[in-house]
Subunit: 433 residues, 2 copies
């Protein structure tokens, strides 16, 4: 071990852009829709193929692969011996139905690029590694096919029960457990522990683009209530049934959808609301709908506003239902509390961004990210890079290679600083002034 | 010919109840589901078997059978020579999938019962018949397998093109023409002409039961506009997208659904409205819906009200859409015009009902009947009898033999009165005061 290993370590090292570009191109082939997007919902064949490919990539590079009971895929590389701190970097390979190719996949192939770049970097130096690394590919971040989202990372973090998670079902009645078995990702390995968690992700909004920023650590994660409302009316013919005798579940649903929107307008602090899915039964043009299930979301950065919105919704439902002659019941509420990411990691990310001269800003994340779940059990951060026009979850989701590389560069420089502090977050500032 | 044949003709003659009962029992065996219902969709083997049976019944009684190019089955009996007026009586032998045994079949076997009862009646008198009779079994009244409904009667009436009708396809891609050939009912005969059309049918609602009526002629057939509205927003994540940037197609749809209901409340005359089906895309809990297609129906007994409602809907759409930041376009309108059955036939039916002392009322029909199509080319009427609890299109559809007989008695007495007026509708009242 040299006396002063720091001297041989370059400041602001850069990742291997060709590797990042190549990995992005190849991961985008799985579930490719041919128009720039990917259709790779969790536990489909396309998702399995992407994971199989990723697994072969990391195995070929000497990583140990493990799969835990909820189907999270981990690739661990030991560089510093069994007792060294563990840095976990990751995201997810599942996509929204007909979503974009960067969301999630960038974080996974970015993690591999960062660690591989780190390995090459230290090959050229006398640096003695002080940390080990794990890449995480979380199962079901998106939550489009199975609810809730962040399923794998939430089980990992102990926030959700394994058996309950395995029993989540899609609209065809298939369970997470059965589908994991079908695609060969019902693992039996113990998930690796880690000391801190890093993630790069494309932004889901145009705030960075508007501000001209290339790097944005997330400060807060908004809380979310995902409320399922069941509206029950009476199935009947639209022809002969007199208007006054109808109990139209879709009409009741319409009143509720309008009210959910109104809540966001009457709130005294920031509140985002939506009803983005409605399952109508029988959904036939000439049968008065007997049932409608609404998938409602209430999101806010502050816990108090979430509480207010839930109370307001509950208070409004009976009157809205009565207006349509139906009943409306809240059948489930998934709660994601509002919170903050680790302030030391935010400061470290800003320091790294500045080292490259990247314009930066601070953001909250409103959507879920696996880092939100993992943040409960270890210091976590998400570094966002811009998405053109703020588009994600669509085929025209796009981030330039330069911006993808910028995010990975920041991650690599954070790794360098963490290594120089011996994996101790509190010492990162003094170790890399 | 006797000087005064009327003297030998009894008032309010009654049909042969045993014949009606026997025919109902036997027709109910075709496609029987064993629980009181029948599953006899048009052009299935069960439908063919019912037609084959009916054909043998009428042939054995001396009727001439013909089948026209759209597969309508006619049974004609000449009682009064080639130039006499023709009275057509009929309905349909096809059923809804897993429907009831009375809907349609009652009208066909009722027609045979009435004409056979009339033949026996005049055998006992010196009456010289003045009309000939045709029983019609219309092809595809129900419209469940092939759309639109009233297909055979609409081709007969000239409202639909033969070739277009033959090319209608079921969800397996099979065409009406092919299926007619397969079951042996692709006829080549010229359809018989007639001077007026009578039909008995079970009610599709509980209005008669509620009112204690046993007989109800239909006065009007309601018109219907089936309007498909496409709402276009912008697909986006429900998390990060600021509320003011959202273009939520489902929110726009909700405003429209509420307005469609409101139209029925603000209308100055009877108007039934519904949105019974909505297809939301992508219908994912956390993606702002980019598209919603609404299947809207506007139904009214009066053409002017239908016009008003369509204009009001068209006028409201842009504002409702703008409120949600989306656009809303009417992409198709299917129109079934409103109309009236022949007033002379209504009056005649009421006179006949009174002759038996049957409690009666007047009804409109909101759903379609073959008489609606045929009414375009000749005076037509439907006489309804009650259906227990207003149930039709289900296995528990039920009408007592007494009520079935009451409807057929009224038809027989109408035949008597029409005969006494020499087939001239305008003279029925003076001929049978």
């Amino acid at each position: 071990m040299p006396d002063d290993p720091d001297l041989s370590m370059p400041d602001a090292p850069k990742i291997d852009v060709d590797l990042l570009s190549d990995l992005m191109d190849r991961v985008s082939t799985f579930g490719s829709t041919g128009d720039g997007g990917v259709n790779r919902p969790v536990l489909t064949d396309a998702h399995r193929d992407a994971r199989d490919w990723f697994r072969s990539e990391v195995t070929a590079r000497g990583y140990d692969v493990s799969v835990d009971a909820i189907g999270n895929l981990f690739a661990r590389i030991d560089l510093a011996g069994p007792d060294a701190p563990v840095v976990m970097i990751g995201s997810h390979l599942d996509s929204q139905p007909f979503g974009g190719r960067f969301d999630g996949a960038y974080g996974v192939v970015g993690a591999l690029t960062v660690i591989e770049s780190w390995r090459r970097l230290i090959e050229d130096t006398a640096w003695m590694p002080r940390c080990n690394y794990v890449i995480a590919d979380w199962m079901n971040e998106e939550g489009a096919r199975f609810q809730p989202s962040l399923l794998g990372s939430s089980v990992y973090a102990g926030a959700l029960e394994l058996d309950w998670a395995l029993d989540r079902r899609d609209r065809d009645g298939l369970s997470v457990g059965d589908e994991l078995r079908r695609i060969g990702y019902k693992g039996t390995d113990t998930a690796p522990k880690a000391d801190l968690y890093l993630e790069v992700h494309v932004e889901g909004d145009a705030k960075m683009e508007t501000a001209g920023a290339r790097i944005a650590p997330f400060l807060r994660h908004w809380g979310a209530l995902k409320v399922r409302i069941e509206v029950t009316g009476e199935q009947n013919h639209t022809g002969p049934t007199p208007m006054e005798d109808r109990k139209d579940a879709l009409l009741g649903a319409a009143y509720i959808i309008a009210e959910v929107k109104r809540l966001s307008e009457t709130a005294t602090d920031t509140l985002y609301t939506s009803v983005a899915r409605v399952d109508v039964s029988p959904n036939s043009p000439n049968i008065v709908p007997g049932k409608a299930v609404l998938f409602t979301e209430l999101r806010a950065p502050e816990a108090a506003m979430l509480e207010w919105s839930e109370a307001a919704l509950r208070a409004a439902l009976p009157g809205l239902a009565a207006k349509a002659g139906v009943t409306a019941d809240i059948v489930s509420v998934d709660r994601r509390p509002a919170g903050r990411f680790d302030g030391r990691l935010v400061a470290l990310a800003e320091r790294s961004a500045d080292a490259f001269g990247y314009p930066r800003m601070q953001l909250d994340t409103i959507g879920g990210h696996d880092a939100v779940a993992v943040n409960d059990i270890m210091p976590s951060i998400v570094i966002a890079v811009p998405s053109v026009n703020g588009v994600i979850h669509r085929n025209d989701e796009f981030t330039s290679l330069e911006d993808l590389a910028a995010g990975a560069n920041v991650l690599l420089d954070m790794v360098r600083r963490i290594e120089m502090a011996g994996g101790a977050l509190d010492k990162t500032v003094e170790a890399t002034p």
